[in-house]
């Protein structure tokens, strides 16, 4: 019984846990509920991935209504991969979060924070798993509303403004997505994504289809912070509580990237729309612009968290770059970079949370001498930073390798060169941090500080080790990503 209902349980489990947290009203109990729910969710997602690898696409119908009339959950290898990514990161952060949340959020709000965290996880998993276009919007808004709360919990009053800005831009993005879905529904008469793709493939080109693609692309780009629609991201990540930043940077934008993949490859892949406009050229140009501008801006940031937030914008640029290349290696690079960036950025923001626990949110100057006072934290930051640059032996190398190979396959040497040059920019801002941490005397703030507690260091280091492990042995991640890319490309004409 449990096995046949796995796709429903994937979303229902965190959804049940959220109201339980509210009913229990005690921060520590709510944390326990969250802990068990997230780890169970992670286990379910892995079970689903194994089943998909074994037996192919899973379809689950709600309420006994057969698709395309009822709501269908449809898991193929692409979203099984995203589900594992989101739920595993969501689970690893929870044990880490206990101390960090305790220090950064008022104790009477803890249970509400955990409820919001679980709702956010529910929404993200729901977007990834569902096969129904309108359901995508509903889950997207569940996760977004919870995200605004997670960001607004920050101690700094600027967190409120950042959250408000994100609310405005996020809602505009979501509304664009609804318009796009509405136009598609008007044209095809169905909301089921698979059915929609099939009907679009046999339809002649109509202008509303073009409009739908445009609205969807812009709306999703707002959610995934594609340059120049990224303006909400740096402040939101910089002033949110450490736990929220670590969770959101690793998962939220990745799910939006998945939506872009789903719509541009699976839904529109066989239609006449894609042939008539070159979305991929636009996304390619914007991705390159994102990589360079955001990396350059990151170099001049003083607030360490903000610096890595800008770096996130650049890294998302690499992911969308891979998507826009639209060949086997490029798409593999993009998909595997979703995972790789999630692991690296998750680790970095978790370690910055360790620093924040000791001295508050760090400026660059206050990080001086970190290696002497908090050696494990500093070492982890170095590994994470090297992954962002793409040094061989770390996860970042794998994804950049695929991207460069894909660019060369297309004969675009200039693009391969640009990817390599942009890595130099990443090297500059990462080196700034390393130089400050290792070659300066401890700052007055750090003078009395000691190493962060193990309950925070161990989960962070799990991700740090992940950075190295998946950089040396990429058969699992890149292999899955490659078959995901293959299944997406097969669906296009």
């Amino acid at each position: 019984m449990i096995e046949s209902n796995l796709p429903a349980l994937q979303v229902v489990l965190p959804l049940v846990a959220a109201p339980l947290c509210v009913l229990l009203r005690r921060g520590s109990l709510a944390w326990l509920v969250t802990w068990s729910a997230t780890w169970a969710t992670a286990a379910i997602s892995i079970a689903i991935l194994l089943r998909v690898l074994d037996a192919g696409t899973i379809s689950y119908t709600f309420g006994g209504w057969e698709p395309p009339w009822g709501i269908e959950y449809r898991v193929d290898i692409v979203n099984a991969f995203v589900l594992v990514l989101v739920s595993v990161i969501g689970a690893i952060i929870v044990p880490y979060a206990r101390r960090s949340v305790g220090a950064e959020i008022r104790s009477e709000q803890h249970y509400l924070f955990w409820a919001a965290y679980l709702l956010c996880l529910t929404g993200l998993l729901g977007v990834a798993i569902t096969g129904d276009a309108f359901n995508v919007f509903v889950f997207l808004e569940i996760s977004s509303l919870a995200t605004y709360i997670l960001i607004a919990c920050g101690q700094d009053r600027r967190a409120l403004v950042a959250s408000y800005q994100y609310l405005i831009m996020g809602t505009i993005g979501a509304t664009f997505i609804v318009i796009g879905i509405g136009l598609l529904y008007l044209m095809t008469g169905t909301l089921n994504l698979a059915d929609m793709a099939q009907r679009l493939s046999t339809m002649p080109l109509h202008r509303p289809q073009l409009a739908a693609l445009a609205f969807l692309t812009v709306g999703i780009s707002l959610k995934l912070a594609l340059f120049p629609l990224h303006l909400w991201l740096p402040n939101a990540y910089a002033y949110a509580p450490s736990v929220s930043t670590a969770f959101l940077s690793a998962t939220a934008t990745k799910v939006a990237v998945y939506l872009l993949l789903r719509f541009s490859y699976s839904v529109f892949g066989q239609s006449h729309v894609i042939e008539n406009i070159s979305v991929e050229a636009v996304i390619l140009a914007l991705s390159v612009a994102a990589i360079f501008t955001a990396s350059l801006v990151a170099i001049f940031q003083d607030d360490v968290k903000r610096m890595f937030a800008y770096s996130s914008v650049a890294q998302i640029g690499y992911i969308t770059l891979g998507i826009s290349l639209a060949n086997q290696n490029g798409l593999t690079g993009g998909i595997v970079h979703m995972f790789n960036h999630a692991v690296a950025k998750g680790a970095i923001f978790m370690l910055l949370g360790c620093v924040a626990l000791q001295i508050g949110q760090p400026l660059m100057a206050q990080m001086a001498g970190l290696a002497k006072r908090m050696p494990m934290t500093a070492a982890g930051l170095v590994v994470g930073g090297l992954s962002l640059i793409g040094v061989p032996g770390t996860v970042g190398f794998i994804s950049k390798w695929y991207l460069v190979v894909a660019a060369i396959e297309k004969g675009w040497w200039w693009l391969a060169a640009l990817v390599l040059i942009s890595s130099m920019l990443a090297a500059i801002y990462v080196w700034r941090l390393i130089e400050v941490c290792y070659f300066r005397e401890p700052s007055p703030e750090l003078e009395a500080a000691g190493e962060a507690p193990l309950s925070m260091l161990i989960p962070a280091w799990v991700l740090v080790i992940g950075c190295i492990y998946f950089g040396l042995d990429a058969t699992m991640t890149a292999g899955t990503a490659a078959s995901a890319a293959q299944s997406l490309l097969e669906a296009t004409r």
């Binding site: 019984m1 209902n5 429903a8 229902v12 959804l15 049940v16 959220a18 109201p19 339980l20 509210v22 009913l23 009203r25 689950y60 119908t61 709600f62 309420g63 006994g64």
Partner: protein, 144 residues
């Protein structure tokens, strides 16, 4: 609000009827227009009406904030519980047909419980929004 005798008496007379009407809309939802969303808002309106006439502090005595918070969570839990029950009884999530001996009765019971959950949650959320905004004291410099 001490002086407005008419308002207070009328409110006292009206509130029970509003609540009953809310219940009617709630449970008549599967035969005619109605359902959890509307009913929840009507019930919440009755309590907000009480707060407008008698003042928020007295309403907080009748319906304390923790009750409201519990309502929000309990409604959602009831909804999901129906889904889980249908899973346990051998159907898919929210497959009402398996809830009773025959599918028609099962559908009836399923939608009734789910809408009840929706109603409870909506009433809770509406009250929560009202409490949150009405309960905040003005900051000194906004009085200027």
């Amino acid at each position: 609000m001490r002086g407005y005798l008419v308002l207070r008496v009328i409110a006292k007379l009206l509130i029970p009827f509003i609540l009953v009407f809310g219940l009617y809309v709630q449970f008549h939802g599967d035969f005619g227009p109605g359902g959890g969303f509307q009913a929840g808002v009507i019930v919440a309106a009755a309590i907000i009406f009480h707060a407008l006439i008698y003042g928020l502090p007295r309403t907080r005595l009748v319906v304390p904030e923790w009750v409201v918070e519990t309502l929000v969570a309990a409604g959602l839990l009831l909804y999901i519980a129906v889904g889980i029950a249908s899973m346990l009884m051998g159907g898919g999530f929210l497959d009402y047909s398996v809830l009773m001996h025959d599918p028609v009765h099962g559908q009836h019971r399923g939608i009734l419980l789910v809408e009840l959950g929706v109603g409870i949650s909506v009433a809770g959320v509406m009250l929560m929004i009202f409490y949150m905004f009405a309960g905040r004291s003005r900051t000194p410099d906004s009085e200027k």
